[in-house]
Subunit: 434 residues, 2 copies
């Protein structure tokens, strides 16, 4: 009996010890999140600083400290898993974006957004694919290296690769020129909520943000297309299938989001939850929004599109059926969740900038890495230019008043802002490629 | 290069497939949570039904369906890990309890609560330890079986064992007599929020709930004491150390919670977040509360006590420094989180009631299992009776008005309610013992 007791005790102790190191890192992470919020608030007067950039810088500093303490073994506190990002962090960010977006502006520019998001991404993808193939053949890179980059390239489609280069250059910039890295990071599509002001520049805001959302659907289609279609022999039939597949994905994702939103509104109206409790209403809205995202993932649709439209429909219908206190609660609770999730991502990215494995890869062949990164970055710039300016011209033709047209300055911002996709794309790049 | 592309594609496909089964179960779980909320709302008129019981029953039904579909292999959707419970589900429940508790009532009965929680638990533990040792010696159980039960017993202390028996009997009851199981489950200390009404029976509510919170600190002390002290030779010195250890744990945990709460209030007041954003205030309160819990775990204190007092202090100080919309948001957002976490636990427990492994153990030796379970249940009843009635008598001696005294009916409710610890204890029992 004694030995049994001893074994139980030792098993429990082991459990306790293994938990303890993760408790330490959780503590540090939560404390850092709090610090970011406080410092971000103090620096709010500063034009180029916000919570995201503070989080990035604090992350880098913490990374240095951890690197020194651990004797150069690791700079990370938590392992960034795809699940963590796609299941916990992304849905609240996108749902909140849909929930708080100015619906009038968004739908007024719907056609332009679709042009950018669908046609534009396709053009950009072609430009980069052709350009990269030519450039790598010309450059003096071993065939394995080219294969390396092209393998990544073909598989993960334009969307991810544009980020790979950005992410690598950001890492370089963040370490040597924090200020420049900060400016770069600030112009991403998720953080347009912070940098572009929805009230001051509604047109720009809805264009940049809308493109980011539609872009996701396109990237899912491209990803599936490259896997299932034989793109080496492009025929009209395959192109037709491709377009059909995109339209199917776009409409089913949207419909799923709209349906879930309407269902929630109906349930809340029919059962009249408010009579009894605000908590039930809020819980139901939260869970249904989450369910829409997970359902989309279940059917291999674009969860981002679904939860975005679910947010729009909920803010338009369900939100008006609930009690006053539920309205205040949902508005701020969703914004808070999204806010914390964004800071979390930036904090992690900052910490990860010093990751040893990634740097050992760069230091093995510094010349090649920098060359490939800069070629890709240049191609992304060219690729985006190849669709933003022509498509803006097309879009302007259909607009009558000068106020609605997209000016040249605004086109440059769209070209530049879309390049840096920020939190979402960094996370994608981390898991799909590196 | 082709082979490289193929390998990347297949790796990504594998990733996708392995994710998909967890996506299916997440979907089902979220959908079930929504169903529980809607059905719980519809059944609200019914006295014996609430969300918890609905969740329990729906969980059992789902378990049956999964059992049939999987061909008798498993009845669970998610594996219940200790981390999931202690890191995500428990903190919001306890914090919300502290945040919403009627502070006046709680502190008026503070001495009585301490009597029940500290002295009472100790008495109960002694009664059960002695009783179980005698009973198992008398019963015709193989020495290994006794060792089995005693090993579990000594290691996990009274707190967990009282639940082990309850949990097993609940499983039996839930399956054969859902109605009785439901009544049992309804009288737990976390769900006093739902069954006992804080406004109608403030004295009872604060006593039952307060005992549950202090009980946690006692159980942590008992657990550590049995591991580190040589309890077979109880001397005044060891007893003194034991009491000192309890007082140390109780005061440091409380102080940590109070300190974190005051710090949050100070930061919010000093920086005047409200001028800029409600989201920052809410995020900071949420993160600081969570930080207090994690800090307590870090220093091996009682996280439950800490986050409970943090909730009390925040609702008393920080809550009055924030803007009106932050007040509404925090009040309802915390309640919603706690609400969802509770339903989640009950849903899981219901699903787990049909777990094959547990039942195969019971069916191997049905007589012994039932005998041991009922002996333990009886001992817990006797043990609780041994401290509730004498201590209530002591407490009543110090009260002057008849209104403040604890009546005999109320004593019976305390005796009975404390027996069934509900969601929290079930989760503890799952992980520490079974």
């Amino acid at each position: 009996m004694d030995s049994y007791v001893t074994s139980v005790v030792s098993r429990l102790q082991m459990l306790y010890t293994s938990d303890h190191s993760s408790v330490v890192s959780m503590n540090l992470f939560v404390a850092l999140l709090c610090t970011c919020i406080v410092i971000g608030h103090l620096l709010e007067e500063n034009r180029w600083m916000n919570e995201s950039i503070t989080a990035l810088i604090i992350g880098v500093c913490t990374g240095v400290v951890i690197l020194l303490i651990s004797g150069g073994r690791s700079s990370r506190l938590l392992v960034f898993s795809e699940d963590l990002f796609f299941i916990y962090l992304l849905p609240p960010i996108i749902f909140n974006a849909g929930f708080q977006v100015k619906k009038k502006q968004f739908f007024r520019n719907f056609i332009t957004i679709m042009l950018y998001g669908a046609v534009g991404t396709l053009i950009c993808c072609c430009v980069i694919s052709v350009g990269a193939t030519l450039a790598f053949k010309k450059m003096d890179i071993g065939s394995l290296d080219v294969g390396d980059y092209l393998g990544i390239f073909v598989t993960s489609t334009f969307f991810v690769v544009s980020i790979l280069s950005f992410s690598q250059s950001l890492v370089l910039l963040c370490c040597y020129f924090p200020a420049i890295g900060a400016i770069f990071a600030a112009t991403d599509s998720v953080c347009t909520l912070q940098v572009l002001n929805q009230d001051e520049t509604p047109l720009l805001y809805s264009l940049v943000f809308g493109e980011g959302v539609v872009n996701d659907a396109t990237s899912v289609v491209l990803f599936n297309a490259i896997q299932s279609f034989d793109l080496s022999h492009i025929s009209p039939r395959i192109a037709g299938q491709f377009v059909g597949s995109f339209l199917y994905l776009f409409f089913t994702s949207t419909m799923l989001g709209v349906f879930t939103g309407l269902l929630t509104a109906y349930i809340i109206k029919k059962l009249y939850f408010g009579r009894h409790s605000t908590d039930r209403e809020v819980a139901l809205m939260m869970l249904m929004a989450y369910l829409s995202y997970m359902l989309a993932e279940l059917f291999y649709l674009s969860g981002i599109l679904t939860v975005f439209f679910c947010g729009i429909v909920m803010s338009h219908y369900a939100w008006h059926n609930v009690t006053e206190s539920s309205r205040v609660t949902t508005k701020h609770a969703f914004a808070t969740l999204s806010f914390v999730a964004e800071i979390f991502i930036f904090l992690y990215v900052g910490m990860d900038a010093l990751d040893i494995e990634k740097w050992s890869f760069v230091s093995d062949s510094p010349g090649t890495s920098i060359a490939v990164s800069s070629v890709l970055l240049a191609l992304v710039l060219i690729g985006r230019a190849a669709f933003v300016f022509p498509l803006s011209f097309v879009s302007n033709l259909s607009k009558k008043s000068a106020n609605e047209k997209i000016g040249f300055k605004q086109q440059i911002i769209i070209w530049w802002a879309g390049l840096m996709r920020g939190a979402v794309s960094m996370a994608l790049a981390y898991n799909k490629v590196i």
